[in-house]
Structure formats: C-alpha cells, structure tokens
Amino acid sequence: MQGTLMDQGLELMLFGMGTVLAFLSVLVLSITLMSWILARYFPVVEMPQGSGASPGRPPVGVLESPAEDARLIAVISAAIHRHRSKKSQ
C-alpha cells in the first residue's frame, strides 16, 4: 500500500509538472500570437476607446496633461490618507 502511495505521488508529480509546463508553453505561444495579431491587424492608434456612448476614460491629451493630472491625484490621495490615519489615532 505504501508503494502505491509513493506511486500516486510520483504520478502526480509527473502529470502535474507536465501539465503546468504544457499549459504555460501554450500560453507563451498564445501571448506571442496575440501581440503579433494586435500589432499587425489592429495598429495602435492609442485607443479611441469606444465610439461615443462609452463613459470610459477621457481621450488622452484632451484633459490636462496626464502627468500633471496623475501627480495631482497622487497628492490628493496622500492628503486624504494622512487625514484618515490621523483621524484614526
């Protein structure tokens, strides 16, 4: 019976590791293919992102400069975080 348990363990190792490697290999291929297809057939006009109705992110460059904006947000959230941690003391 102990032999059988060892066998089960060995089998689990072989099949498990094999599956992990096989699956991730297929994933490598798929990603490469995906990136190639996207680059080849859908050249990046950097995302107009939805035709009109979409309430998505604002078109890049229309608002303020994104760098400025990001910094602003960062500072505001830092301020709020500080407020909270102070409040909770």
Partner: protein
C-alpha cells in the same frame, strides 16, 4: 451560591487545557510577527487573532453546534446524539466528533436539528468559516481582487518569463513527493490529497493555498495557511542564500534590455486569452483563474472603474477580515497540535527552497541558450509571493551591480508564478479531488 460555581465552571481558567494555552501563545506569536516584524500583517493579524479566539476555553467559537453539544450536553442529549450518529459510546467527545465527521449530509442535518432544539449553536468563527471558506467563495473573491491589482505588462513584454513561473512550481510537486515519502516510511501520516494540499504551500500564494486545502484537506487548512503566509513573509530571508549559491557573480551582474512598451489593447485582450485557454484545456482551474482574469479585465477594460475599485478595495478588504478570522478558526488545539503540523511546516519551507532553486536554474539555462541576456536572479521570482520575490531579485541584483534594475524584469516571472500555481492547483484538484 450555585451561580458562582456556574460562573467559575464557565470561566476559561477552570476549563483550559494545555493545548489551548499553547495555541493562545502561538496566536500571540503570530500577532507579534505580524505587527512588529511586518510578516504579511494583512492576513496574519486576523489569523493570529482568530487563532486566539478559537482556543478560548469553553467559548466554542470555532465549533459547530454539534461539536459544542458533544462537549457541553447532558447525558440524555448525548445519548440521543449518539443514537442518531449510530454509535454506542457517549462518554467520549472525540468519538462523537469522529462519528459526526464520518456521517452523511442527512445524518449531519438530523444531529444539527437535535442540538439546535437543545439550545446549542454554531460558534461565531464556525459561521465565518462556513460562509467564507467552506463555500469556496472568499479565496475566489480575494483572487479576483488580486487580479484587479495585477499588471501583466512586464509579462506581456517578455512572455518567455512564463517558463520561469512554470519551473518554480516544481517546488510544489517535489514537496508532494516528500510528503508521501515521509508517510511511506511511517514518520508522518498524509493521504495523497493531504500531500497535494501541503505541496501547494510552495506556490507561495495565499488564496490558492487556502482554496486547495479547503477542498482537499480541510483539517490541515490552518497549518497550511499559516505556513504559506509565514514563508511568504520570510522570502527575503529564504531566497537570497539559495540565489547566491546557484549563480556566479558574473551572472548576477547581467543587465537586461529594457522591456518594450505594452499597449492597453494587449492588456485588455490578455485576460480573455488566458480565460479561453483555461476553458479549453484545464476546466478544473476555471474558478481560480476565471476570477483572477475577471478581476484583471475589470481593471484593464477601463470602463468599469467603479467595479475595479470595489474588487481591489472595499470588497477584498472585507473578505480578507473574514478569511483571516476563518483560517484562525482552524487553529483549534485539537486539530493543530499534531506531528503532522510539524511535517507541514518542514515540508513547506522545503517547497519554497526547491521552487526558488528551480526558477534560478531554469533561468540560467535560458540565459545560456537564449539570444538576449537574462539575469538568472529573476528566476527566483517565479515562486510568486508577489511582489516580495521580485523585490528580492532586484535587491540581490543591485548588490552585484549597482546599475542593475531587475524589478520590472522580475515582475514577469512573479505574476507568471501566480498563474503557474493556479494551474498546479487545478491539476491537483482534478487528479486527486475528483
């Protein structure tokens, strides 16, 4: 004066046994490590606290109504309970436990109804555990949140690093073998399902470990979760010696070429590609990886920021609180203080070490045969433990070459390791749990 006697008999000191005392100390130790040493505090604070609550003598917070009755009921009720469970003896609470655990769903229900009528109730932590972990929901929701926090950019820029994430999972399966070996030579006593659950500690991924052990080995869940999170916190100590031992100074100095930029569109399509592969090739990994991809799509799609914020904010925080307390409920002395726990702790660290080594060794190999230079130090990040392991790669790289910034390069294998261990989890659930 009977009331004073009642109160005293109800008090913790009168009912405490040695095991509970030890477990309370272990809970305090976990809190100390989490708060003072920064050991994965988000999980270990709730787990440690839950562990203490679970071992409060006489409170029965981690027990089901039937278990609470087995300890506290009068002989008449115990006799009735034994009759329902189909056993003779009513003396021994442990015998009742064992019979209850071995019963079918119908007998369990009858037993519950009996003790409910007699005023016994499920403990608070038992309720938390049933709802969050036994249902499988909490680890999946956490995985969704992790997906919503993960940036697959570095992986998409360099997909080959997925192989490193695969190699590092060797730690999982080597540990499975170790566990069955220890059993076969009679030192430990693990079933193949137990061994699989223990191995997953080497995946260095908390929710995956909890999800797998809730299915394959619920009794070991406490020890496995504690081991997984503790060793993740110890990654900065466990990995560097192994990394240095397996690489040469010259290898550690290798500078890698900068990653190409990845488009938003690739990041949106990727979770769907991964989902489809899972759907076609490995359905047993679908709950874990499905929720992971879902969280990532919420984030990357850019059109549902409300949901993405909830997934990586309020929702994951709330679930983490209950997940942690629920894991703590598995630290009851009767289940945790066991030689098997020592085996789990030992095997877990071996799993981490083997995973680290496998990642580094495959990276060396890829560097040798690949066209572009690849610093083998990023191989160790394949165990996951996001983002700790990637930071360790970066730090050890900087020691060898102060101009060598490996962090982004190591993030590829790092998130690949999350996928890799979820795949391993799927395989094991499919082969062992079915």
């Amino acid at each position: 004066m009977g009331n004073f006697l009642n109160l005293w008999r109800d008090s913790g000191i009168a009912q405490m046994d040695m095991g509970q005392g030890i477990m309370i100390l272990i809970g305090l130790l976990l809190l100390y490590l989490a708060i003072r040493k920064g050991f994965e505090p988000l999980l270990l604070v709730p787990i440690g606290f839950g562990g203490i609550l679970a071992n409060i003598p006489g409170a029965g917070l981690a027990y089901s109504a039937v278990e609470n009755a087995a300890y506290g009921a009068d002989p008449a009720l115990l006799g009735e309970l034994a009759r329902i469970l189909g056993i003779e003896s009513t003396e021994n609470a442990k015998a009742l436990f064992a019979a209850y655990a071995a019963s079918g769903a119908q007998v369990k229900m009858l037993a519950s109804q009996l003790v409910n009528d007699a005023g016994f109730h499920d403990g608070m932590l038992y309720i938390f555990y049933s709802v969050s972990i036994a249902s499988g929901v909490a680890p999946l929701v956490i995985f969704m949140g992790v997906g919503a926090m993960t940036d697959f950019g570095p992986l998409l820029a360099n997909p080959k690093t997925l192989f490193l994430g695969a190699a590092a999972q060797f730690g999982i399966f080597a540990t499975v073998l170790g566990a069955v070996y220890l059993t076969s030579i009679g030192i430990m006593d693990f079933s193949i399902a137990d061994a699989a659950a223990i191995g997953i500690i080497g995946g260095a991924d908390g929710p995956t470990a909890i999800y797998v052990s809730s299915i394959l080995a619920p009794d070991l869940l406490g020890a496995i979760a504690v081991a997984a999170y503790s060793y993740m916190a110890l990654v900065p100590m466990i990995q560097p010696p192994i990394m240095r031992a397996l690489t040469t100074e010259a290898e550690r100095k290798i500078e890698m070429v900068q990653l190409r930029p990845v488009t938003t569109r690739e990041k949106i399509v990727f979770p769907m590609v991964l989902l489809l592969l899972v759907a076609f090739l490995l359905p047993s990994a679908a709950p874990l990886l499905g929720m992971f991809c879902f969280g990532n799509l919420l984030k990357e799609s850019g059109v549902v920021d409300r949901l993405s914020d909830a997934a990586q904010g309020s929702l994951i925080n709330i679930v983490t609180i209950f997940l942690g307390l629920s894991v703590g409920s598995k630290l009851v002395a009767a289940k945790f203080l066991d030689t098997n726990t020592l085996g789990i702790l030992g095997l877990g660290i071996i799993a981490f070490a083997i995973g680290t080594a496998s990642g580094v060794l495959l990276a060396k190999l890829m560097n040798k045969f690949g066209s572009t230079p690849l610093n083998p130090l990023i191989g160790s990040a394949g165990v996951s433990a996001v983002p700790m392991a990637a930071r360790v790669s970066n730090k050890v790289g900087l020691e060898a070459n102060p101009h060598n910034f490996l962090l982004m390069h190591a993030m590829g294998p790092n998130v690949a390791g999350v996928i890799g261990s979820a795949v391993a989890a799927g395989v094991m659930i499919s082969l062992v749990g079915g």
